[in-house]
Symmetry: C2
Subunit: 459 residues, 2 copies
């Protein structure tokens, strides 16, 4: 079925009151497609549909919506309907939804949930945003090492309906401490009377509840895991993180790096409404702080220029090359920072590599600077004569070198200070390169053009 | 076991010739950890280890290494050893490895492989980099709809050892056309005499061999899939893509966007050696083209300045504020572009939203511009008197507005032209904002300060 046919078909069934066809139609669709169709329709229609398809289907559709769309729909659902939907949701999606419900309503809804669900939410909600605990689910399968494969398979069959995954099961002791894992693959290939103990992988890779979600994503990627167990301080199994949640983490981390690099303040995921929905004031708050900091940095460039006022008055043509030269230094710096931040993020480059890379960066930057200096000096000769051309060419080499070194060193320095290397944003690198560029340019000009400046009556 | 203990322990076993302990030790380790330990040791040691542990273990370790490390080790392995290792590798990892072997040696190795492996490589290698076909594996399980669950489970048990996943199986007709999928979960929960036909999901989500790998990643994320089938033009099942390969695609796409945004030429993954390994000339080639293009754009800024030479000569203090004003426009533009590129990448913003966002961006930019204008005009008064302060404040509002509009519109425009929105790199946006900033600044100054300029003998 073509995506854009979904909504018209739904509407037809709803209007004609063909509830049976409607349910059959929804059943055949993937909840993600239904959620996609709902994005384009008025909220009232979605509520009407939810009412017809029942809480189980509604819970799946709601789970597949973005938090912005969810936030629009929630106020329109009655407390009774919403609590039924929440009861049906999977443990981790439920907590994500609960987080965007205003405090008062949340209290009311919690009272309407069944006790097991309520306790599960409270347990999961304790963990702060961005930690492994916050994205884990409590719907996993665990058993003791003493049982046979046949018994394990019985448990899996019995519990499958409520669990996020049955492909990975965990082995725990009497105190619920994690000490093994076994895949369904192994269970299926083994003889039915084999003990789980003989099949299990001892001491499986795990993360702690308080670990950053990025650590969980990193381990899952490194070991090609579809699920990773999460334990608390006493090694007690608290939950598991499944592959679908990690997808979101990777995208979220990439977005975070991107935002930092673009000098935008990145907000935690649940406040991070889509651009279309964020208010004007939210946008200003995300953007203004860095802009103001950068303005004050740029004042140093201005001060540098003021210091060389005599040089400029004597050879006004120098100003012509100013944007070009400091721009090139900034651009080369932004490039270096880009390569370095990404290399650190994907684990290509470690702190200890800094010295080795420094030598190479110097060679690369001098190479680039010389080619660009040559190109620019041709313009320099045409526009302002050979003396200025020499100044421009020398400046180009040195500003590109300076910008590149700033761009490559700043992400390292930030990592050293336990900050995100992407905080070495393009605008920050550019601003620092600007200050250096101004000083380099006019210092060289003042020295190399000293006769011309003296002749024009300057110092 | 702590990671940094792996190598010393290995070395000890190797030196003492304790092959049995060595094999036991390696067996207990995850191949990813062994690969990690190998990164730090001389190539000759790795080759020695590969020799001892045998081709099966070596193939797993090699699969977990980056292409840079692989490229270092391959020349040191004999053709006989390497062909055995290749035989043992999984279908998709094998093709990735073959791609980095020089042509002549590749021909020789291909002759040494078993026929089935050779044909599999040739079939997979046909697909160009970046397509679904290039990352799929041919190691999947498929059967007909007529068999029972019991028969399906027998097939799964029989074929499990050679398959990437047994959790997802596919249903094909006599011509090998894909028409259904069934999860192991469903098979396990069903009665053994049930026909696969009754359990299967009809018409499963799929991608085509020639689709971009990003499309596969998008569908797997949207539908929470662990594996997605890949079909050719005749709907014939050609392979499947599993979650571990998609991890790499997501990271790769994020890196690509990041590199584009930083104005670095992004190279396809197999050339994309880690930073430590890329040669100086490779780095220059990745960085120089954009820098040169931007230099020529910056000449327009210079030309703008040249046009206003009289204004500058009359009020040299104006130059003091130049980096600050055009810097702020560029920074605001880089921020807008960042938010927009990322919102387009994660699907938050569609082409049709442009007009709606434009109105909001104008409000946000004017808000930011006014606050920054106010801050800067205070410095203006102190440094250059009230007239220049007014010019600076007005310019700040207009350049921030101009930069922001460029930053938000360029990614849309590029998407429209079927280009990657991230090609609206920070340096490109900054350079365009610079040109606008120079013209706005000196136009306002020339107009507002006309009396002062006239008095100083200008036009």
């Amino acid at each position: 079925m073509k995506k854009h046919h979904i909504y018209p078909t739904l509407k037809k069934h709803l209007e004609k009151g063909h509830i049976k066809s409607l349910l059959k139609f929804c059943d055949a669709l993937h909840p993600a497609d239904l959620a996609g169709a709902m994005e384009k329709v008025p909220v009232s229609e979605t509520v009407r549909l939810f009412d017809k398809v029942g809480p189980r289907c509604a819970s799946k559709v709601l789970s597949h919506m973005g938090s912005g769309d969810q936030a629009n729909i929630l106020p329109e659902l009655s407390d009774a309907d919403l609590s039924e939907i929440i009861n049906e949701m999977s443990s981790d999606d439920r907590v994500d939804l609960i987080r965007i419900i205003p405090h008062e309503r949340r209290q009311k809804l919690m009272q309407m949930l069944s006790r097991a669900e309520r306790e599960d939410i409270i347990r999961l909600e304790r963990h702060s945003e961005g930690t492994a605990g916050a994205i884990m689910t409590s719907e996993y399968i665990a058993f003791s090492e003493d049982i046979t494969v046949r018994e394990a398979m019985d448990i899996i069959r019995l519990e499958a309906a409520d669990k996020e995954t049955i492909y990975f099961t965990y082995v725990i002791d009497k105190e619920h401490r994690l000490f093994g894992s076994v895949t369904l693959r192994k269970l299926i290939l083994a003889k039915t009377e084999t003990k789980v103990r003989e099949l299990m992988h001892l001491d499986p890779v795990r993360v702690r509840v308080e670990d950053d979600q990025e650590i969980a994503a990193g381990k899952m990627k490194k070991y090609d895991l579809l699920a990773i167990p999460v334990t608390d301080d006493d090694e007690i199994l608290a939950g598991i993180i499944t592959h679908d949640d990690i997808h979101d983490v990777i995208v979220e981390e990439a977005t975070e790096d991107f935002h930092r690099f673009g000098a935008v303040i990145h907000e935690p995921p649940d406040l991070n409404l889509s651009m279309g929905q964020a208010g004007i004031w939210t946008m200003i708050r995300k953007r203004l702080p860095w802009l103001l900091i950068l303005v004050f940095m740029n004042i140093f460039s201005g001060a540098g220029i003021a210091y060389f006022e005599d040089t400029i008055e004597a050879v006004v043509a120098l100003v012509f090359f100013l944007p070009l030269l400091i721009g090139s230094g900034g651009n080369a710096g932004a490039q270096s920072a880009t390569l370095m931040i990404r290399a650190i993020a994907v684990g290509d480059v470690k702190l200890k590599d800094w010295f080795g890379l420094l030598g190479k960066e110097v060679s690369v930057a001098i190479g680039i600077g010389m080619i660009m200096g040559l190109a620019v000096s041709l313009i320099g000769i045409l526009r302002a004569g050979p003396e200025v051309a020499v100044v421009v060419a020398m400046t180009m080499i040195l500003t590109v070198l300076f910008g590149s070194l700033v761009g490559m060193s700043l992400p390292f320095l930030l990592t050293r200070l336990k900050m995100d290397p992407a905080s070495a944003s393009a605008p920050l690198v550019t601003s620092i390169a600007d200050i250096g560029g101004v000083l380099i340019y006019f210092s060289i000009a003042t020295w190399y053009l000293r006769d011309i400046i003296a002749a024009s009556g300057g110092v």
